[in-house]
Subunit: 339 residues, 2 copies
């Protein structure tokens, strides 16, 4: 009988919570100009960063975020047991090509913008279950690779909808480590279900993702008998302004108490004064870089002691949208605590 | 310290090997006409099976394979702890939309044609590590969705290269179960690294994947101190004829003893008399259906007692190929034994 999750529940409780021993984030120029610029390890000088295509730049960002994470603790990449990562590109090529160069045993993931949570949950499971000792979990996205794959080539100059979100150029990586000494730890996690409320507008992914975020967060509290005030911060992936407001309404509908401590990476990443942002940021890299930049730094300085990190993913594709399908979404919750 | 994997090794040894309690496979008409037709649970009457698009058919195949797997043991889907699955389509829409309808907590994977191994390894980890009790692992592919996404619309009538493989229309699912009683069990697993020998021809994926298969299989034997004759059958995912012959050469080069018990799902799925097969079968569904059809049936009847199942994945995308990248590949090995 499993003892890390009760029957009928979705939340896993780690018995020997893995420590987040190291982390790193890299962002694009626009993200660097935003309110959190100084919290990221590296801001790219431009969107190519010396590469010949945006796709190569995205792969390099992911690989560099992993390398920086390991260098900070003088860890040799050959000592890492497994690399768990994903991105938004077709066939997750950024993660695949980064894994080729890192040469670490690799498990590729696709959870759209929820990928950072998925990689961290599986990483924590691998350590807590006594399978591995050192795991790297990571995710990335690039504005211009996403634009040409999901929307229109940027050169076409199509106008954004007010509810649309700006895909972040960003990567984040963490090193999860088997260590019983005090530190920033992954203490429990709620694996989400796919939720679809029949929203069909791909320019309003926040509205599609909000119900999934609310379902996972409510399940997390119910499973553990916790109230939202247990955490200093409950932060969703990238609902953006529209999804964030909708999530707040849904929390009330679902009978949850008011949450002053609820925020969203998509709302926070950019300043409202920045151009073309519309409803905020999105992309796997948005929540990954917010975690591996400002959030973990604030935990390290003890400004934040307990956070619930809830990246959200919209699970459609251009072809499913074209074929008239609605947008399914998912959210996974990761509890991170200073212990 | 992890005790399910030794430091510096890639192979996990399960302490409480999860049982494959149930399984099901569904294939398309062409696969049904092949030599293993009678071993599959269902052969589709045509490539649409009552749906309005091939993409919807692919999703339905995956969902139906899961439902059949659960029905065989009268398991309620609400009692399944997690669903692990992936496919070849952009943003793994077949798995996402199947997960929406199944409403089981979901972790999406992308390992190209290695996905069935990835899902089974993570599923076995979740059970052996005392996280979950019942996990469904699955993968699927559809010939016509893959053709229009990766190659040319079938209507265009482009001729296949002799080294090209026919993407299988097939789905397979297993129910992994926390059960100490005798049965067909997942006993150990080797997580592969991404290997790239600079092969650039997307019409010859077998040649790109063979080095990855050989690397993982050799590592498996080295890690465990086993020789190939430990297994009744060592079966790779979908190298096809070209990759299979190359793998045999590479085994000799790597100093492994001759393996009479080595075969390949891509070589086996179709008969050589069938039209347009060229070098054999490919697709996530090829190895998934071969496992969840003939192979597990032969283990159930005790014709096979120990197999090493090694699905292989080519990790490129049309855009990476277009940009001149070579094809990285991966293979994961899953040891399945009658205990």
């Amino acid at each position: 009988m499993s003892f890390r999750k009760k029957k009928g529940k979705q939340t896993i409780i780690f018995h020997k919570p893995p420590v987040i021993k190291s982390w790193a984030s890299i962002v694009g120029p626009k993200e660097g100009e935003g309110p959190w610029g100084k919290y990221f390890d590296k801001v790219l000088p431009d969107y190519l960063d010396g590469q010949t295509s945006w796709e190569l730049t995205e792969t390099k960002m992911l690989r560099d975020a992993v390398t920086m994470t390991l260098e900070k603790q003088a860890i040799n990449k050959d000592d890492v047991d497994v690399f768990l990562a994903g991105d938004l590109l077709n066939q997750i090529i950024s993660a695949n090509y980064a894994a080729r160069e890192l040469a670490i045993p690799f498990l590729g993931l696709y959870g759209a913008c929820s990928t950072m949570a998925e990689s961290m949950i599986l990483g924590a499971i691998l350590i807590d279950g006594y399978f591995y000792d050192q795991v790297v979990a990571a995710a990335c996205s690039h504005h211009y690779t996403a634009q040409r794959q999901f929307r229109f080539p940027s050169e076409q100059g199509v106008q954004f909808a007010p509810s649309s979100q700006w895909t972040a150029t960003a990567a984040g990586a963490v090193l999860l480590y088997n260590d019983m000494s005090p530190g920033i730890k992954v203490t429990c996690a709620t694996v989400g279900r796919v939720i679809d409320k029949a929203q069909k507008d791909p320019n309003n992914m926040g509205a599609a993702m909000a119900p999934a975020a609310v379902d996972t967060i409510k399940t997390h509290f119910t499973d553990l008998g916790r109230t939202p005030d247990y955490y200093d911060l409950i932060i969703t992936g990238d609902l953006g302004e529209v999804g964030y407001e909708l999530a707040k309404e849904l929390f009330i509908k679902e009978g949850l108490p008011p949450m002053e401590n609820f925020n969203d990476c998509g709302v926070l990443l950019f300043s409202k004064k920045q151009s073309d942002i519309n409803a905020g940021a999105s992309g796997c890299g948005c929540s990954a870089a917010m975690l591996c930049g400002p959030l973990l730094r604030k935990m390290f300085s003890e400004e934040l002691k307990k956070i619930l990190f809830v990246p959200t993913g919209a699970l459609m594709s251009p072809i499913s949208t074209f074929q008239g399908e609605s947008i399914p979404a998912i959210a996974h919750a990761v509890a991170i605590e200073l212990l």
